[in-house]
Amino acid sequence: MLGTLGAIVLYGVYHTRNIKSVQSYLMGDRDLRWWTIGLSVMATQASAITFLSTPGQAFEDGLRFAQFYFGLPVAMVFLCVFVLPIYYRLKVYTAYEYLEGRFDLRTRTFTAILFLIQRGLAAGITIYAPAIILSTILGWRLNLTIMAIGVIVIFYTVLGGTKAVSVTQKQQMIVILSGMFIAAILLVDQLPTGVSFYDAVGVAGKLGKLNVVDFSFDLDNRYTFWSGMLGGFFLFVSYFGTDQSQVQRYLSGRSLSESRLGLLFNGIIKVPMQFLVLFVGIMVFVFFLFVQAPIHFNSANLELVKSNPKTAPAIDELTTTYDQLFIEREAAVNEMIVALKKEDEPRIAASTKRVKALQTQDAEIREEVRTLISEASEGAAKTKDTDYVFITFVINYLPIGLVGLILAVIFSAAMSSTASELNALATTTVIDLYKRSLVSDRDDQHYLKASKWFTLLWGGIALFFAVYADLFDNLIQAVNIIGSLMYGAILGVFMVAFFQKRIGGTAVFTAAVITEIVILTIFALDHYEKIHIAYLWLNPIGCILVMILAEILQGRRVEIRE
């Protein structure tokens, strides 16, 4: 693991040792080829938590999360047709720079500050979230794990800027993809003798885990074909088209063609990659039908319950029931496999019913354990343990060499997404605020130095927030929620800029503010269960509302003037 990570970082530093201008530092001389752009865009989006959480999500909920990404390839095509040519024509450094030319300085500064707040806090979480899981499972000190990720990222991002981020991401993405692919193959290999891959898929299917596509139209259902295709489309157009951490990746391309190819590459690879990661989770699920899984995957929580005199007897009792349940379920699953091999439908139906009933009991026991954890920690511990499923499997059941590779995957993912965030934060700070509004008359070397200092500053802020994140638990949730609540309105501002040419800055600014109030109201009503709308739908609602309101407000301004 250390060898892989060290080699990638050294390669990045060596490759970018001759950075002499701010253009090179922030835009990487605009000479990247499409495969570097494509992998860099993918690596920016895929954080470490993606590879820790997603298999766990499939373990619990099946494959339906794959639908979340259905709108992504369509969004890539949309960006290639409508957005990239505009950014290239204007030769902008940041997405927000474009808004000044189109509207005014106020809109540019406002959106840039929104980005800095949102991403500045999120960068800390990108480091903290995997660190807390890795430190729990590996027994490492949390702050040491945070420092291990953070200091390395800051080191090569400050030294090499955008190009260092992109070239290291290329290597990191290769490690990530090959690591997950090898994990999937070895998982199948780890199944008990007599259980083939086909049997494993058959069992998972009968137990309702292979539910990839659901065409039902239900606003309350988070993952359906329609929420993924429509809600996901707006979310991904917003994320890839207006979030500087992504925009910067493809603006450093050699030409418009290279950038387009990079995004289309992402559009082709992303959905199959997510499917692969989810499928790994399904194989982990089948594996734990034959090998007894821990009663709770977060070992620290389990220790807490066992060491508390109030909860220790209850957990012992639950463990005995759980052990017995596993033996019964294993026998029922074996019966199911025999029935599947013989294609004996009545026997398949009977054994499936039996396994499902035992699965329900299993879920009930796990829920009781969660209640005990809450009791033992007096409500302080997080009882959800799906993020720990995959890493528990990796540590306990994969060969030692592969454990290192998977850890390298997780560290690579953490570093690659953090590096993009720091790079984008520094660029936006320097280009949209510092150079534009604060210190506008200095030479190139001054801004190069300023860019490095701002990267270091944002890295320090991210590390600080990561180290103290456990003190701000509610803030972490708030940051995640704020992100999803703002994307629709921000996209709306950009859509007006691209397609509604007669609308000016005041109308769009007012429309965005009104829309945010409406979105927050919908979110509050949903939170208090007055209405039911899955959060993905807030993206199209926000975007379309800004466009309509801006049109109406502009019309009124024209009427008043006349």
């Binding site: 390839p73 058959g202 074909f225 387009r260």
Partner: protein, 49 residues
């Protein structure tokens, strides 16, 4: 300052894609591939249900 229409400007910025001859065909290729993948997933959902 010379004025070009958006299509002319774009032609100056972008070369033809390395395969399929035009960008519209490239986009169609990506979208068709995506919908074929979804169709395969739909089959997968039902084949093993």
């Amino acid at each position: 300052m010379t004025h070009q229409n958006p299509q002319e400007e774009e032609d100056n910025l972008a070369d033809a894609p390395p395969i399929l001859g035009s960008w519209n065909r490239m986009y169609l290729f990506v979208l068709v591939l995506h919908f074929l993948f979804i169709a395969a997933l739909y089959w997968f959902t039902h084949a093993y249900a």
